[in-house]
C-alpha cells in the first residue's frame, strides 16, 4: 500500500510538471504582453521591466528562468497588474482559504444529503417519493449554479433578509458563516442532485442482485439487508463521480464567487486573464490542477478502503 501511494505521488508530480509547462506556454502565447504601451508607463520603463522579468527573451528561456525560480527559490513570480510586485504565492495564500472553505463545505455537505435522497428514491422506486426526488434531480442538474445564486440572493437576501446578500469580508464568527450560507447553497444543488441520481441507479441495481436475495433468505430484515449489503456495494462506484463533481463545483464557484463578491480564487482567475497578469494566471491554473490531482489521488486511495478487491489485488 505504501509503495502504491509513493508511486501515485510520483505520477502526480510528473503530471503537475506537464501541466505547469503547458499552462506556461499557453498563457504566454496569448496576444498582448504584460507591459503595454498606452498606460502611464514610458517606453524606457517598459523596456527596463521586460528586461528585468526576461520578457524580451525567447519563450523557452523564459520557461527555464521560471522553473529555476520555482525549484530553487520557491518563487512563483510577482503579480504585474492585480497587485503589482506582490509575490503570486502570497496572493494565492490570501485567496485560497475562502474558496476552499466554500467549495469543500458545499461539496461535503451535499454528499450526505444527496445520498439520503438517492437511497430514499431507490428503496421507494417508482412511487411518488421517487418521482418527486427524480424531478428535483433533473431541475438541480439542468439549472446552472449562478441562476440559483441570483435566486437565493433575491429571495433569502433581498425579500426575507434572512442572510446577507453578499459575502461580508470584515465579519467574523457566526456573521461570517451566515454570509457564506447562500453561496454554499448555490453551489450545493448540483452535487446533491448528482449524488442522488447516481446512488439511486446504483442502489436500485444492487437491490436486485443475488446477494441481496441471499441476505434476505438468511432472515435479515429489509433494513438490515439494505444497509449491510446494499449500501456499501453501491458506494464503490459513487467514489468515482466525486472527481468530476469537485471540478464542477470549482467551475461553478468561478461565477458564484463573483456574484457574492467573495474575495476567492474564482474572481481572481478571471481578473488575471483579463489584465494579462501572466504569472498570476499560471499560478492559478496550477492551483486548480493540483486540487483536481489530489482529489483523484484521494478517490483512488479510498477505493482500497471501500473495496477489498482493490486493496488485496496487489499482494498475491
Amino acid at each position: 500500500m505504501v509503495r502504491y501511494i509513493i508511486n501515485r505521488l510520483i505520477a502526480l508530480l510528473i503530471t503537475l510538471f506537464i501541466i505547469i509547462s503547458i499552462a506556461f506556454c499557453v498563457v504566454r502565447l496569448m496576444p498582448g504582453s504584460v507591459y503595454e504601451m498606452g498606460g502611464d508607463l514610458s517606453q524606457t520603463v517598459i523596456d527596463a521591466l521586460n528586461a528585468k522579468y526576461h520578457f524580451n527573451e525567447p519563450i523557452i528561456k523564459q520557461y527555464g528562468y521560471y522553473l529555476e525560480n520555482i525549484f530553487f527559490h520557491w518563487d512563483w513570480g510577482n503579480s504585474a497588474k492585480i497587485r503589482p510586485n506582490v509575490p503570486v504565492f502570497e496572493i494565492l495564500r490570501d485567496r485560497i482559504p475562502i474558496t476552499l472553505e466554500i467549495n469543500l463545505i458545499s461539496l461535503f455537505g451535499a454528499i450526505p444529503i444527496g445520498m439520503v435522497a438517492g437511497i430514499l428514491a431507490a428503496i421507494k422506486k417508482n412511487t411518488i417519493v421517487d418521482h418527486i426526488i427524480s424531478f428535483m434531480v433533473v431541475v438541480f442538474i439542468s439549472i446552472p449554479s449562478f441562476i440559483f445564486a441570483t435566486c437565493l440572493q433575491y429571495f433569502f437576501g433581498f425579500k426575507t433578509g434572512s442572510f446577507p446578500i453578499i459575502y461580508d469580508v470584515s465579519a467574523t464568527g457566526t456573521a461570517r458563516y451566515a454570509s457564506m450560507v447562500l453561496p454554499i447553497l448555490a453551489l450545493a444543488f448540483d452535487p446533491i442532485a448528482r449524488v442522488a441520481r447516481y446512488l439511486r441507479a446504483e442502489l436500485a441495481e444492487t437491490m436486485n442482485s443475488e446477494f441481496m436475495l441471499l441476505a434476505k433468505t438468511k432472515g435479515l430484515t429489509y433494513a438490515q439487508s439494505t444497509v449491510r449489503h446494499g449500501l456499501r456495494n453501491s458506494m464503490v462506484p459513487l467514489a468515482n463521480i466525486i472527481i468530476p463533481m469537485f471540478a464542477n463545483v470549482l467551475g461553478g464557484s468561478l461565477v458564484v464567487e463573483t456574484i457574492f463578491s467573495i474575495p476567492g480564487m474564482g474572481g481572481l482567475m478571471v481578473d488575471s486573464i483579463n489584465s494579462s497578469d501572466h504569472m498570476l494566471t499560471v499560478a492559478i491554473l496550477v492551483f486548480y490542477s493540483l486540487i483536481s490531482l489530489i482529489t483523484i489521488l484521494i478517490v483512488d486511495l479510498s477505493y482500497g478502503i471501500i473495496d477489498p478487491r482493490v486493496r488485496m489485488g496487489g499482494k498475491k
Binding site: L213, Y222, N233, R309
Partner: protein, 351 residues
C-alpha cells in the same frame, strides 16, 4: 422409511402469475405437492416450468410484480401465502433456507466470508461474536473448507466457485433450518465439483435430519439424491412418484421425453431432443400444455386438461394416455431398452 409419511410442508393448488407489459404470465398454474419429513423431493422441469417460482413463493421472495392468485403453502399449520414480509423474517433461514443457483453472484463481494456466515447468527439469534465465530468455523469444516480459520477472514473473490457454493451451503445451514431448498445448486459448477457438492448436501442432510427440496433440470443429478420426484411442465406438475417409479416406470410422455434426452454411457444413437419450445405462458394452451410437442398426443389433449391418474399410492401422472378408453401406447424404444438394461445391471450387481 415409515416416519417419512409425515408432511412438513404442503403446497396446495398454488397459482402464481407475473404482471408484465405484455400481459399476465401464468408461471405456476395450480401446483400440489407435499414434502415429507426427512425426505428429499426433487422438482424437475425445463427452464420456465415454474419450479423456481414455486420455491420463491415458499420463502416469500417473489419479485414485486408477482401475484399469488390462489392456493396455500402450509408450514406448521400456518399458510405462508398469507404471510406479510415481517412474518417471513422468522421463517427464512431459521425454518426454511435456500441454496442458490449461482454461487458466484450470491455472496456479497465486499464482505468477509466469516461475517457473511455469522451475521444472521449475531443479528437474529443474538449470539455473541465469539459464539458465532465458533459456529461458523464448525460449519465451514462441515461443508469441507480447509483451513477455516484463515478462510474466515477472506473475501469471496479469493474463493473458487465450488468453495463459494460450500460457503453458501454453510450460510444456509447456519440457523439450523428444518427445510433446505436447493435451487439448481450445481448448475454453475463444473462436473467434478458437482459430484462433490451433491455428496456433501446428501451427507449434511442425513446428519442434520433435514428435509430437502431439490430443484434441477438435470435428471442425472436427481437420480442419486431424491426419494421422490415431481416433474413439472408449463407451471404444472405432470407426474409425481418415487425415484424408482419415475425412472423405471414413467407414465407421462413428457417424462419419457426428458428421460430419453438424457445421455448415458451406453447411448449410441443420436440423442433424443424434445421438438418445439415451451408454450407462451401469457396464453397457456387450453388442453394439455405439452400436447403441441407430444408425438403421442390424443385429440382430447388439445381440448381438455388431463386429470391425475393414479398408478400407485405414490405415483400419479396427468395424461389422457392413462384413461381406460385411451389407445394403448408404449414408451419409446430407446427408453424401454435403457430401463431393461438398468434392471438387468441391477439384478447382476445384487446377484
Amino acid at each position: 422409511m415409515d416416519k417419512m409419511n409425515e408432511p412438513i410442508l404442503e403446497v396446495k393448488n398454488l397459482r402464481v402469475s407475473f404482471k408484465t407489459y405484455n400481459g399476465k404470465v401464468q408461471a405456476v398454474r395450480g401446483v400440489d405437492f407435499h414434502l415429507n419429513k426427512g425426505e428429499t423431493l426433487a422438482i424437475v422441469g425445463e427452464s420456465g416450468s415454474g419450479k423456481s417460482v414455486t420455491t420463491k413463493a415458499i420463502l416469500g421472495i417473489l419479485s414485486k410484480n408477482a401475484i399469488i392468485e390462489e392456493g396455500e403453502i402450509l408450514y406448521q399449520g400456518k399458510d405462508l401465502t398469507k404471510f406479510k414480509e415481517k412474518d417471513f423474517y422468522d421463517i427464512r433461514g431459521k425454518e426454511i433456507s435456500l441454496i442458490f443457483q449461482d454461487p458466484l453472484s450470491a455472496l456479497n463481494p465486499i464482505m468477509k466470508i466469516g461475517k457473511q456466515i455469522t451475521e444472521a447468527l449475531i443479528l437474529k439469534e443474538k449470539m455473541s461474536k465469539q459464539e458465532a465465530k465458533k459456529r461458523a468455523l464448525e460449519l465451514m469444516k462441515t461443508v469441507g473448507i480447509p483451513q477455516p480459520e484463515v478462510r474466515f477472514n477472506q473475501y469471496p473473490f479469493q474463493f473458487s466457485g465450488g468453495m463459494r457454493q460450500r460457503i453458501v451451503i454453510a450460510i444456509a445451514l447456519a440457523s439450523n433450518a428444518k427445510i433446505m431448498i436447493c435451487d439448481e445448486p450445481t448448475t454453475a459448477l463444473d462436473v467434478t465439483i458437482q459430484a462433490k457438492i451433491l455428496d456433501e448436501i446428501k451427507e449434511i442432510k442425513e446428519k442434520n435430519d433435514l428435509s430437502v427440496i431439490f430443484i434441477t433440470h438435470d435428471l442425472g443429478v436427481v437420480a442419486n439424491m431424491a426419494d421422490r420426484i415431481c416433474v413439472m411442465y408449463a407451471g404444472k406438475i405432470v407426474e409425481v412418484g418415487t425415484s424408482e417409479e419415475i425412472f423405471y416406470s414413467p407414465a407421462h410422455p413428457y417424462t419419457w421425453a426428458l428421460l430419453s434426452s438424457m445421455p448415458d454411457l451406453e447411448t449410441k444413437d443420436e440423442l433424443f431432443s424434445i421438438p418445439g419450445t415451451p408454450p407462451n405462458m401469457i396464453f397457456p394452451p387450453k388442453g394439455d400444455a405439452f400436447a403441441e410437442r407430444n408425438q403421442y398426443a390424443l385429440e382430447v389433449d388439445f381440448e381438455q386438461e388431463p386429470p391425475f391418474f393414479k398408478l400407485s399410492d405414490t405415483h400419479y401422472a396427468a395424461t389422457w394416455l392413462l384413461h381406460p378408453n385411451a389407445p394403448k401406447v408404449e414408451m419409446p424404444d430407446i427408453l424401454k431398452n435403457r430401463i431393461a438394461r438398468l434392471r438387468r445391471e441391477e439384478a447382476e450387481s445384487i446377484g
